[in-house]
Symmetry: C2
Subunit: 86 residues, 2 copies
């Protein structure tokens, strides 16, 4: 499965473009963010991507969920964003 | 309109409880967050609230959007979360 990994340094507009591309191809997309900075960029990207896909008649909605992941052997809690049409 | 204002110090579980209460009463809810820390707490609250309302048959989804607001006379960009059933 394709997973868009978001960092605090991710550019929201570029991320929104990548998100829109995945959405147009597959209908839904998954993003993962660890930490407040990354979550913030992910949310901005989704807000921007809504405008990118709205002309295609897609009313984008998000479902956020917690995900336990391992980074360098350390347990971390990530936020997973399932993005798709309402 | 009731608007749940989220700060970086907001407790996600308490916020989720408040969100679930508004959702049960009105069907939809609006949250506003300024800054990465606040956005992160808002997203966590939504993920937790999904579990609170799922037993009521509600599949909660979110629409994030930018909002220009004024704080102490300064222009800031907030994130508005429209939360409601799919």
């Amino acid at each position: 499965m394709d997973l868009l990994r978001v960092s605090a340094q991710s550019n929201p507009k570029s991320l929104a473009g990548a998100l829109a591309a995945v959405l147009r191809e597959r209908g839904t997309a998954e993003m993962q963010a660890v930490g407040a900075g990354a979550v913030n960029q992910a949310v901005k990207a989704i807000a921007i991507a809504r405008g990118f896909v709205a002309p295609n008649g897609i009313d984008l909605v998000v479902v956020p969920a917690f995900a336990e992941i391992s980074i360098d052997g350390e347990e971390r809690t990530a936020i997973r964003f399932s993005v798709g049409p309402r």
